[in-house]
Subunit: 339 residues, 2 copies
């Protein structure tokens, strides 16, 4: 059942936000969504993320190199030479499903997942920005959840870049909860796995749910940073039932909010730590950074910027969380902007 | 038990090898191991991997930008400003343990793992190139395996960049096999998890072992490439007992040779597909590419370049494999060359 208490987060950014390096502003300004396709490719793929800064010659070369890159990347992509990146210039970005379960049948003894609407809204907004066609449903039964995935797999995906499924719910051993009963994650993934028109394309699952009863007390590290806004106490819950990693095959990414065996934390006002971090990091970086690199930043943000604040319960107070990214991707994934 | 048969691989490179993009040769030549530290940083971190090529102005700018970057990156690193990369300039690279189990007690009914010596030699050579202090042992009992990890955790790691453990064996549900009995992966990881001087540092486990009884029949994809050397038939085995993903915390990377539930393939001459791919991809790219990106290339190589060749057994013939990379890393990991 849900555990209420106090918590501190820096969810909305503020000092210490690490998601937007200064170098971003030194690139020539471009409207990614309105520029012609040859130009938009370069903005998302060119590798400026880790560029040095603060030198005029370097800045000049970056600008010139970038300008060259716009055209060259368009040509490279057209010729299929970007073999280590997924092809992300299909007519459609693809289908994104958001399953947002807040209340459950009383026989299940599962707490209301207050704050999950914030997660759902934020993910819908982000996925919309990325160009997905979104199907969002609230409080689905297990059967309804399964039928949503079956329906998505039946839809023709030939002209789609990829597929996304976001599940916000309680979890259990290898399963997540519908409002009436649990459903195996494997059963949700199966129709997508069998979808021929998604073969070779990235299939991404983001799962916000607990995966066990352990809480992570954390260890002190040399480069650990202070948590921000510690005076801003709020109520906190955890999605406390376990879900396990499932077998998946090539081109699947399973992004779990937490390591197997552990509590996953959710703030009643701001939503879960994991979804807060995903939305912030991906929104700030998707035009120029690949998905796995962004997910490492998400893990960093959750691990370093969040800590539970439940002073009434010593067992749950000042605990940490680390997401768990299981990748079977075979190429880098850049969400190339759609024209 | 082991399953013998025929197989085809392109393990030693040849046509279709995708690990060394042409752009690599357009960079100014540098001896990474002998150049001063400020220079060596830039070669591993500068983001040229996905650079366009074939244009004189672009090439000039790349060269100039790169030259600038050498000094700038040295300064940035010295000031600790590379906050999204693990600090990899400690005095030592760190300890790497290789556990290579080939033969097992007859009561276990586990086949001899022919070809595993090739894996062990290749990994030892690679890790030595990366600068690790290596402890390699063959045919360890479960107790010996545990004591190796305990010993490594007792060793002072304060001046080390990271820790690596390579396990080559049969696997079982959540466990791998010593020569006498199985040992939980969790029990092997526990002492490393508790090692204070490794907190905040990357802890990498590479596990070559089966994780189930399923074989992956594969699906056809548009950009699938032909397999090379299909006439070069060889004997093939699989490490057919299952091992599960275990709970891990921040800064762990668990690189499994195969998805949970599936066979993991090993060639009797060339070693396992997974270790072959790890050695090839990391050797070709570690000076300039981060670990997660390299592991995606490893997955690509295993998924696209290998296929089992066991014509005597239809169930095992022409099967595929996809590695499973579970990351709790919080930063990008570049194996910055040691001076």
């Amino acid at each position: 059942m849900a555990t209420a208490g106090k918590d501190t987060t820096d969810a909305s950014g503020g000092p210490g936000n690490t998601a937007t390096p200064a170098i971003r502003h030194s690139k020539p300004p471009v409207n990614h969504h309105r520029a012609p396709r040859a130009a938009t490719y370069s903005t998302s793929i060119l590798p400026f993320e880790r560029s040095p800064n603060g030198n005029i010659l370097a800045a000049f070369c970056r600008a010139a190199y970038w300008t060259q890159g716009r055209a060259v990347w368009g040509a490279l992509t057209a010729s299929g030479d970007t073999k280590h990146c997924y092809k992300m210039d299909h007519a459609r970005r693809g289908r994104a499903i958001i399953i947002n379960n807040e209340t459950f049948h009383h026989d299940l003894y599962l707490g209301q997942r207050t704050g999950t609407d914030r997660d759902a809204e934020n993910m819908e907004s982000l996925l919309s920005e990325l160009g997905f066609d979104i199907t969002a449903r609230k409080n689905c039964t297990a059967a309804e959840m399964k039928s949503m995935l079956v329906e998505a797999a039946r839809e023709s995906q030939g002209d789609a870049d990829c597929f996304v499924c976001v599940i916000l719910s309680h979890g259990d051993d290898g399963a997540v909860y519908g409002t009436d009963e649990s459903v195996k994650v494997e059963d949700l993934v199966a129709p997508i796995k069998a979808c021929k028109s998604l073969a070779g394309k990235p299939k991404l699952f983001f799962i916000q749910a607990c995966r066990g009863k352990f809480v992570d007390g954390g260890v002190e590290v040399v480069d650990s940073k202070g948590k921000h806004g510690q005076d801003d106490e709020e109520e906190m819950e955890s999605d406390e039932v376990a879900v396990q990693t499932i077998p998946v095959e090539a081109d699947f990414l399973m992004a779990y909010s937490v390591a197997q065996g552990y509590y996953s934390w959710r703030n009643r006002e701001q939503g879960s730590w994991f979804v807060q971090a995903v939305v912030k990091v991906v929104r700030d970086n998707w035009r120029r950074m690949d998905l796995l690199t962004m997910m490492t930043r998400v893990s960093h943000k959750v691990a370093y910027d969040f800590e539970s604040n439940v002073p009434s319960n010593r067992f749950l107070h000042m605990k940490k969380q680390i997401p768990c990214i299981t990748s079977m991707l075979t190429k880098d994934l850049y969400f190339t902007p759609k024209v």
